[in-house]
Symmetry: C2
Subunit: 413 residues, 2 copies
């Protein structure tokens, strides 16, 4: 089966936003065994949208359209789809009630233009939207289908997962199984070279590597007669990968490193505290994005100034004076300080140079000290990344802290 | 002048990489006064590429093609462009010498397939590539131009800036001016309804609204005989918008709310501290993403547990016991507590229910109290967003904190 993705939005053509929806949908369709032929982006222009939709529909079995379903005048996607497929727009009472309820709940008055979103093509399958106002839909004709999803990624993903994925699984009847492995501490090209014996000349399962910021993902996918057969083939390949690069593998379930660490902490009942300088709360924010972490995370301190390191964490001023704020000694004192102040089982700390300013020959931008304190043990390590800007550097520092904590939880230190 | 962007690469259709090139090129073309009609993505498939190029060229004055210029067999972009425009490929000696030099510099042997990259369409303008092996080029015919750039963003940007930008500036002679306004505290549909008198029936300047998480952007753009004229027209429209919705407008320079707040703080020399519960460090992380904030931000405390609120911020245990951790009283005590502990001029605090668990009828998921303490004044406000998931809620809470701080800095409280 062949699909094309048609994204509608002037903000895409202006380059105001990057088209992450197309990439995400491509991954999903690929996983469902659907080939993606094209991504097209068109603005809120009726003539061009109409022509492109008609043409794309002629080339593909499925067109996934995104964006342009909202309440405003330049939201035209639904009208054009209905027109090209020869369907009337009719008011759906449940959709209208949903939208009215959305406004009522917040005590806001619903502007008249919002009613527009409750008109949907006759005969379509409506994707009621619990997480936004614009419903999506699927309209089929002559063995082809047009799927319309709202542009905001959260709504698009929700509606895809709830409505499109099960529909596609049934339609393609594909017996596909795949797993995404996550690696930390090894670069993409090095990992790919190591995995060459598993990757080369193999058509099923397929093994593909993807670089993320400071990490690498590997997708192992198989399409067989049954899902069970595919799962066995995938597992065999994962076993081979594990033998080659197991020490860098931290998840076989496509989890983020902070999710892995959070579940380990919650599982063992350990408590956590953190003290951050250059990462400015990013470690705390990341680990606390996991629901339920209040059971484990006690407190975090973001101590930017030297005075606050002394005042709030008890780092001796003389120590900072002697070694500098970015030093092994201060990192250790921050970790032990926050552990003492909070009584946590595990305490992590970081002090470093995130940039763009503040670097020196001895302490360049992109370098930091990370420290982990646990009962009877403090481990402090230097860490350096090639400077690629403040946010990049901070993120890499946080990954290093998470990796250190993960190893502590695995008793690998 | 009208342009389309044609990106070639199976890795885009697989969703392995996000198409940042299309967004970047769009911004550049837009700024040069060129309208972008389409983004197209196609895989390494000869038939589909040829058809799409011919069609795109018929619709546009300029086609910018990216990717598929490399040494391998599935790199077909150049061959197809030459064929569609009826040009021969001829060996360029300088391009070949560049490629050979590139390999020599790194002590690597040049594989034979790399010679392919030195064959370029007869009559094209060659964009010699100092930062990679594949040169780009511009081939003109019948008043139309096809520009081919390599796919790696670093090479693409380098060749665009060196060769394409000056060529375009000369060619378009356009005088464009645009501004992006940022709004907080008003929804997209409400804002559009309010701005209808300015938006409707107006062709220049154009006014377009875009929703972001918890915010709205409005782009005002004009194309006139001179940049000065366009700037005057844009400013007149901004003045009208300001009269209608000025109280929600926080930036006319497309800045984020945290950037606006950070520059205000740095400008007035005020110091800041924060105490966060449900947002888990996200406020600190956000404001500290701005370089140079170490001059203003003293410290932040992430106090998740009740004990830590008492221990680290001095919130009386009896107060938490009486009113609950999510209450006006505790939010105020957190703000005054962190102000006292750090000596900051401004202190913000938040306590709320980010979800997914922990909500109740009285304190539903998505509700919080935010507080701001400054000299002689503490302001504490309830805030509620429709629950759209933990990360969404936390982000909305942080925006509310930033808005409160912004109003304090503007002396609007």
């Amino acid at each position: 089966m062949k699909a094309s993705i048609l994204c509608v939005g002037t903000e895409l053509l202006f380059g105001q936003i990057v088209n992450t929806n197309a990439a995400w949908l491509s991954q999903q369709l690929q996983m469902a065994g659907v080939d993606v032929l094209y991504h097209h982006v068109v603005g809120d222009n009726e003539g061009r949208m109409r022509a492109l939709l008609a043409e794309t529909l002629a080339q593909s079995d499925i067109v996934v359209a995104t964006g342009g379903l909202g309440p405003t005048q330049d939201d035209l996607t639904k009208e054009i789809i209905a027109d090209v497929l020869g369907a009337e727009l009719v008011l759906d009472e449940k959709a209208l009630a949903d939208i009215e309820g959305f406004f009522k709940r917040f005590g806001n008055e619903m502007t008249e233009n919002n009613r527009k979103q409750a008109y949907l093509p006759a005969g379509c399958r409506i994707y009621y939207n619990e997480v936004g106002t614009a419903p999506g839909f699927c309209l089929e004709k002559d063995g082809k289908a047009v799927i319309a999803l709202p542009g905001p990624p959260r709504e698009l993903k929700h509606l895809y997962e709830k409505w499109v994925r099960p529909w596609l699984t049934e339609k393609t009847n594909a017996s596909i199984y795949n797993k995404v492995l996550r690696f930390y501490g090894i670069g993409e090209s090095t990992l790919e070279t190591k995995l060459a014996p598993v990757i080369e000349g193999q058509t099923d399962p397929t093994v593909a590597t993807y670089a993320k910021e400071g990490e690498v993902s590997v997708r192992v996918a198989s399409k067989r007669a049954t899902v069970e057969e595919a799962a066995v083939a995938v597992q065999e390949t994962i076993d081979k990968i594990y033998q080659i690069a197991g020490k860098y593998l931290y998840s076989t379930e496509d989890q983020e490193l902070h999710e892995v660490v959070a579940s380990r902490l919650l599982a063992c009942g350990g408590t956590l505290a953190s003290a951050e300088s250059c990462t400015g709360g990013m470690f705390a924010e990341r680990i606390l994005s996991v629901p339920g972490m209040s059971a484990s995370y006690l407190a975090g301190l973001v101590t930017y100034s030297n005075e606050m390191k002394t005042e709030l964490l008890g780092v001796p001023a003389a120590l900072i004076e002697k070694h500098g704020a970015v030093s092994e000694e201060v990192a250790s004192a921050m970790a032990t300080g926050v552990k003492a102040r909070t009584g946590a089982d595990y305490a992590v700390a970081v002090t470093g140079v995130a940039g763009p300013d503040g670097g020196s020959e001895a302490k360049p931008v992109g370098s930091c000290w990370i420290s982990l304190a646990q009962k009877g043990m403090v481990i402090t390590l230097p860490f350096e990344t090639r400077d690629r800007g403040r946010q990049w550097n901070r993120n890499i520092f946080v990954l290093a802290m998470l990796d250190l904590l993960n190893k502590a939880l695995l008793r690998q230190l």
